[in-house]
């Protein structure tokens, strides 16, 4: 696959998703970037903003098998991964048969992931990181490609189990789904209340998607850009010499090395979408907030001051890039 074909396909995918999704162009773009980079996305937003619709549409456009898991407090890990059940063959002999859970799909929508217990949440850990599921002492490969798109509601925090750092770090990007504007909301209403449904067509198949992912991995990265990313990650750590004063004052934990990996991987996809063979600082600048915002933990003072990780990242970027 050539770069032009890549950018053309990506453009078509975005266009096709936009047929269903009103507005949220950046969310669509970043979700696509994350999927093409082989990462998982955490979508955060209030209910009714089209998160589930987005994931569903993406699966349709990419011709992928879609599965939705609604996380609730009583959801068990086996409900996610699957379990061995006793079956009986024709001769009446009983045996264990693995009943695959909803995780065995190409795109998983883990809806309201923070409502499940940590035990259930952690059932997704292996799937997200290793792309495998282990049940009954047997490890099973998940289908390729495999993406998890999780959602969480920032408002209803009662009775939720916030994702632990180890798990949240597995998400390549955390996207904040903002409330649509007046025009967009009007268009959403118009679209959803009329009988004419917007049909989306599959733009790429699994093979093409795999090629696109492979090409994204080949994008060149200059030492200077790598060093900038490394310095950016180090700057989020309050104890590091590169850290600006605001980080030293308000940050408890900085971004993990996975943050740098996520930034580079996502940046490569963006570079290809922009028609470049190389990663640019511009890509880093755009993707720094989605890639690092869930990896930076503010201390008490930072939260009391009402700071956001996005603001800190912007300040660091102003210094570095």
């Amino acid at each position: 696959m050539e770069i032009n074909e890549f950018s053309q396909k990506a453009c078509e995918i975005e266009k096709e998703i936009s047929k269903v999704m009103v507005g949220q162009r950046q969310i669509i773009r970043h979700s696509l970037i994350c999927l093409l980079a082989g990462g998982n996305v955490l979508l955060e937003g209030v209910p009714g903003l089209g998160k589930t619709l987005l994931v569903k549409t993406i699966s349709q456009v990419l011709s992928l098998k879609f599965s939705r898991i609604q996380f609730t407090p009583d959801l068990m890990p086996a409900d996610v991964t699957g379990t061995n059940i006793i079956s009986e063959d024709e001769k009446g002999r009983k045996y264990f048969e693995f009943q695959a859970g909803p995780v065995f799909a190409n795109i998983i929508l883990a809806d309201e992931i923070n409502r499940a217990t940590p035990k259930t949440q952690s059932a997704l850990l292996e799937a997200m990181q290793e792309k495998t599921v282990t049940a009954g002492g047997k490890t099973r490969l998940l289908p390729e490609p495999f993406f998890v798109m999780a959602t969480q509601n920032p408002l209803e925090m009662e009775g939720t189990y916030p994702l632990p750092e180890a798990q949240i770090d597995r998400f390549m990007l955390k996207l904040l789904v903002n409330f649509p504007g007046e025009d967009e909301l009007a268009r959403i209403i118009t679209k959803t209340v009329t009988p004419a449904a917007n049909e989306v067509k599959a733009v790429v198949n699994v093979r093409e998607l795999t090629e696109m992912m492979h090409l994204a991995g080949e994008v060149l990265v200059a030492d200077k850009v790598k060093k900038t990313v490394a310095r950016l990650i180090l700057s989020t750590h309050p104890e590091n010499t590169y850290a600006p004063e605001v980080v030293k004052k308000y940050v408890r934990y900085g971004a993990s090395p996975r943050g740098g990996q996520a930034l580079i991987a996502a940046g490569k996809v963006r570079a290809l979408m922009e028609g470049r063979y190389n990663l640019a600082l511009e890509d880093i600048r755009e993707l720094a907030a989605p890639a690092l915002r869930h990896r930076i933990f503010l201390n008490f003072e930072g939260e009391a001051e009402g700071l956001s990780p996005d603001g800190l990242i912007a300040q660091i970027l102003d210094i570095l890039v």
Partner: protein, 574 residues
Amino acid sequence: MHGKPDNFPQKVVSILKFGFHNRDFDNREIKKALRPILKRLLVQHYLIKAFQYMAVITLVTGLFLVISFFYPWPEVFRWCMAVAGVVGISFFIWAYLTRPDYYQAAIMADRDGLKERAITALELSGQNDRMTVMQRTDALMHLKQFDARAQYPFFVPRREIAVCLAALLVITLCMALPGRTREEIEHRAELRKAIAQEVEKIGQLKEQLEEKQNQTRLAEREEAINILEELQVEMQENSDSNLKRSLKSISRAEEKLAALKNSGRESSQSDIANIIDALKANEVTRELGEKISAGDVEQARDEMEKFLENAESETGNKKDTLADVLEKAAANLSDTQLALQLNQAGQAVRSGGTGGSPQMETLDRILGMLCNQAGWQTDYNRVTTILQNARYGLLAAGEESCSTCQAGNGINGSMGSSGGNNSSGAAANGGSGNSNNSESGSGQESSMSGSQGAGSGAGRGIGSGAETQLQQNRSSPTSPGSEWAGMDFAKYEKIFDPERIGEAGESSFVQGEAGEGPQQTVTTTDPAVMTGNLRPYREVIGYYSQAARDSLNRSSIPPEMSDLVRDYFSSLEE
């Protein structure tokens, strides 16, 4: 790609070759594409460095001038030039080592629209896989479309310009505003010039004395030449044009000369001077006395022979007169041996002794002695005159270049120095005299002391300098200040100055007796001390200083105290 060795010597070589940040890259295409950008950056880089250099230099110059505005710094411009040179070389080296290279050109291009295409292509210029080649092609394409001229127009660094202008303003102010220190600097320059002139004069005198010495050897003259040479060296080594040091050197030379003159033969010199004076006092023998006092032995001999021949052919009175003069002079001599010889010579003349006779040989020897002594006296006077002139020349240079002297009243007239022949035992008019009348002429002519006392009494005449013409009257109506005028006399008001013994131009007489007679003190007709009055400090300081120098010259001051006295008066002269 970079291939930079880590060991130290090669690292140094690589720094010298490529600069601190410069690295070499393999791909020629990408370098060629970056070259227009690099050229613009290089020109701009050197332009900025040049302006920074100018800013630093103007700042340093301004700083130096401000310092020199408050503190005298004669070599300020020389220092400015030196700093400019050193800083210039440093800036050039710095500019060369920190010059931009392809890497920085690529960064600049990326920053201005190429989005890391150039730097990626440059860094990966050694690789040739499919993706890298495609990326390089993409980068080259974008670089070709990159208009370096439009992107990087040359600009002049405003901050440096502002610094330059501010520093130039300071420099202009420092140059334009009247500063005390500038006058001080000019003063030192003039002093340096004056010292050089005086050194040259001393050198000329030394050469003349050396020529004379080659003709007639004289130990005193040889010593005087050495003293002059030493003085010349000391003054040449006085690189910071220190007036005090130069004056001290001159004073020291004067003291040495005085010591040389008086060394162990004071009475002998006095005797010879008496003989010459006796010859000159008589009308018949005056011409002979003058020839002798001119110091030329041959001429004196010729004159003597001519005198004797004439006396032979004309009348015997002349011979008798000469004999009388010689005998009379012999009666006043302290050296009995010389007196005896002179008596014999007088008798030989009287009896018409012929050439070759022992008496006439004695006369001839005395004649030679007299001539040598007279010649040395002439040389001595010339040397002291030159040294006096040098002293006053330096002081005048200090005075003329000092603005403060314009406001002063100065001394009317200058110090008349001793004729140098106020030897003890001889009542002399030419004692240490201070002449306050500036109208008394230049006084360049030197002569031996005027009148003499009779006998070798201990009387020491202290009179005016009317007959001692070694005085330098430097004051003039247009330049009322004197060597003291440069001093800050404001703090000194008026001090009591007793009137000197005798009035200016008047003589004091002391009677003396021939031989080793007892000391006799005679009350002079002039009051020794008259009621004093209050006179400005500056009018009397020269007076006292000269008296101190004279005292030093006469060794009246104990040797262990002479330095103290000299330093004290030298400090006053500063």
